[in-house]
Symmetry: C7
Subunit: 81 residues, 7 copies
């Protein structure tokens, strides 16, 4: 699926959001909101200053964590083009 489109591919778009705030929802429906310090092609992420949210309520916090990419359902990005 090589292509010459100028639109950014999903992993490239994700990479462009490094150092920005994201909300990661995992397959177990728990969400993590914080700064995405880095990410790789498996969607393994380093998150900092993160809040853990269940049904929108904060249930935990952590300063820095590595999330394993295979658990990711989706990653909400800040609104920008």
């Amino acid at each position: 699926m090589s292509q010459t489109t100028s639109a950014k591919r999903p992993l490239t778009a994700l990479q462009k959001n490094v150092k920005k705030t994201v909300v990661v929802r995992l397959k177990n429906e728990v969400e993590y909101k914080g700064k995405m310090k880095n990410v790789d092609s498996y969607m393994n992420l380093i998150m900092t200053e993160a809040e853990e949210l269940v049904d929108g309520k904060i249930v935990g916090k952590f300063a820095r964590a590595i999330l394993r990419g295979n658990n990711v359902l989706f990653i909400k990005l800040e609104d920008e083009i």
Copy 2:
């Protein structure tokens, strides 16, 4: 499974719908309706202006998100040939 058929293969057909509105249903039965900004061969998607739907009812919205392809059940495309 090389072939010379003129019919488009699934991933190619998906790629042709970039920038169009799609409805993505994930394995957890939740649907996301919005513009598919881009997609790769794993069905990782960038979606924008998306509504999150449970049983057809809007339960959330987000401006931009990356959906991880391995969670995708199917992707409904706009009706066109």
Copy 3:
């Protein structure tokens, strides 16, 4: 498992049914009946004019969709040799 048998291998048989009506059952037991516009070696499918069936009853319809192959349980083909 190379072989010289004249019988068609499963993926080849599937490919031969492109443009025909099939019934796809997914792992979540939901069935999709429609025209298989195309298919690849992962069993990713393009379906058109499809009905969504639960316990044999139509619960939805869509004009065109891409089904992700890893969710497929089986694909019923039209009766032909």
Copy 4:
């Protein structure tokens, strides 16, 4: 795990049963009894004249279908050496 044993490896034994009647049990515990028209190394199968069995009772029939190999629990073969 190369070897020179004369005993047939599982996939080879499976291939030798092409065109014979088999019973395939899937991970969802449903069984399919019919003629195995062909099979590949992922255990994708073409079955014809198949009965679908739940707890040993016929709940459905189909003339021809492709079963996706990753759902297979086991395949009972006709008794022969």
Copy 5:
């Protein structure tokens, strides 16, 4: 993880038990006791003269079957060194 230890690696040990009686427990907790006619590196097995056991009680028998390796939890071998 290359090594020169004389102890047998798991797949080699399994191969050495071909033609012996084994008990295979699958992930669904059902056990199959019978002769392991052959096995490959995915733990796909050919079993013959097998009993199907649930909670230690025989609930079925089959003359010959191929078990798909990815369902295997463990395989009990005859006691020998």
Copy 6:
């Protein structure tokens, strides 16, 4: 996704925390707090002096264990930049 960014990739960041205290949460929601003696690219970990925690309460302890990486949900690191 090659890049020249100076930010550390997730697996590199993880490696930098070898010999430090981490909290590993597995997919079954159980947490393990202890010293991460080593880790590889699958997130297989050697942990020592570890406490097993369910809902924040210690339910077990072990001196040294290997955790299989595919079970990891996330790994909380000590707060540092």
Copy 7:
């Protein structure tokens, strides 16, 4: 993730414990305590003189078995450096 650290990587550490007593916990929460005769890079294990434990109580014993690595949650090692 090549490195020159002297600390042992997880699979190497596991290999160093061959012939020692370990406790293997599988994803179904059942534990197996016995001698680890050998292990490979998938964490497939040969265990001998093993006890099967549910909630710490012995529910079964076996002389020798091969455990399939993909079911492993973690492996507790004897306390040593």
